[in-house]
């Protein structure tokens, strides 16, 4: 067994690839199941949402961050802490709206699309739509309703991948029964 050491790849890299490959297998399966890009987008978003509501707890437990003061702080937490932690990339936060309620995450190398070459005829597919759902789900758990969508995607030939996040409203704690 002289070659043992040579067979052990970098665990961090492997875990990233494991995720990327599993995600790829899922998207390919969804395309077979639905044959409709919009429906696949919807399913991916839904699954992302379910992951987001759980992942946020993991994130809070790991990072021990406290509640964000404003949307700008939230944007920084998402880009510099959360993306870095789970996907190993740090998107650039930019294109703030004048009202400060909308911004873009610019992603240079989206790890979800490593290896991917989209087959022809899927111009409406947002391959990485899971991310939109995950962000929505996670944000909702910290009481922020947001809208997330893809604006640009390198997979479709754009120069950069751009996710747009829009703040909708703050969600409040339930008032105990019998009090108003």
């Amino acid at each position: 067994m002289s070659r043992q050491s040579s067979r052990a790849p970098d665990p961090r890299k492997v875990n990233g690839e494991l995720f990327t490959l599993t995600y790829g297998a899922l998207v390919a399966q969804l395309l077979k199941d639905y044959e409709d890009d919009d429906e696949v987008n919807r399913q991916l978003e839904k699954m992302g949402y379910n992951i987001g509501v759980r992942l946020i707890e993991d994130f809070l437990a790991r990072s021990n961050v406290s509640r964000c003061n404003d949307f700008r702080e939230t944007a920084d937490q998402i880009a510099k802490v959360a993306f870095k932690m789970y996907l190993g990339v740090t998107p650039v936060v930019s294109n703030w709206s004048a009202a400060g309620d909308e911004f873009s995450l610019l992603i240079e190398n989206n790890p979800l699309t490593d290896f991917v070459e989209l087959p022809d005829g899927h111009t409406d597919l947002n391959y990485s739509n899971l991310l939109c759902g995950a962000l929505k789900g996670a944000m909702e758990m910290v009481q922020m309703e947001v809208d997330v969508k893809f604006v640009q995607d390198q997979l479709k030939g754009d120069n950069i991948t751009e996710l747009r996040l829009k703040f909708i409203r703050r969600l409040e704690d339930a008032v105990p029964a019998g009090e108003d």
């Binding site: 052990a8 790849p9 665990p11 875990n15 995720f19 899922l26 390919a28 379910n50």
Partner: protein
């Protein structure tokens, strides 16, 4: 036990995939769900093993391949090695993992026993896919008597 954060993402994704596959199926399609998960795992196993073996020398024989699955493959995917490998020398290998990663958070005993197969289909597929790509055709099944321990049985198909 600190885990790599991106390893966690894979776990959540797997949970959600299991959930998705079962959500869009009827009660009586359970076998179909298992088969679907298994085939997803198969495809992932195929790709993974291609990457994992890029730097290694060629395998000597079937046992060498099995040892690779138990050590390097398992370690890369689950951050631990298989605890025990047995064979009857007639094409059946039994891999025992005393703390299988997909089960450690579910139960420490018999609770939720009925759902264990759902979470083992994808891993079985991964093993089968990895072996198939290495030129070993097999049937892989899993057996649990008390979580989080799990036995994977690999039956080599020689035809």
């Amino acid at each position: 036990m600190a885990q790599l954060s991106d390893a966690v993402l894979f776990e959540y994704l797997h949970i959600e995939i299991v959930g998705y596959i079962h959500r869009c199926a009827d009660e009586n399609e359970k076998d179909h769900c298992i088969a679907k998960l298994e085939s997803l795992g198969f495809r992932v196993g195929q790709s993974l093993v291609e990457r994992f073996t890029r730097e290694s020398t060629r395998f000597k024989d079937e046992l060498d391949t099995m040892k690779f699955i138990c050590k390097d493959f398992w370690n890369s995917v689950y951050r631990k090695q298989i605890d025990n490998l047995r064979t009857n020398h007639q094409g059946v290998y039994v891999l025992q993992d005393n703390k299988f990663r997909f089960l450690t958070q579910i139960s420490n005993g018999k609770q939720y026993m009925d759902v264990a197969p759902k979470f083992l289909a994808f891993p079985c597929g991964m093993i089968r896919g990895a072996l198939a790509n290495l030129g070993v055709n097999s049937v892989v099944t899993a057996e649990v008597s008390a979580m989080p321990a799990c036995k994977f049985q690999i039956q080599i198909q020689r035809t």
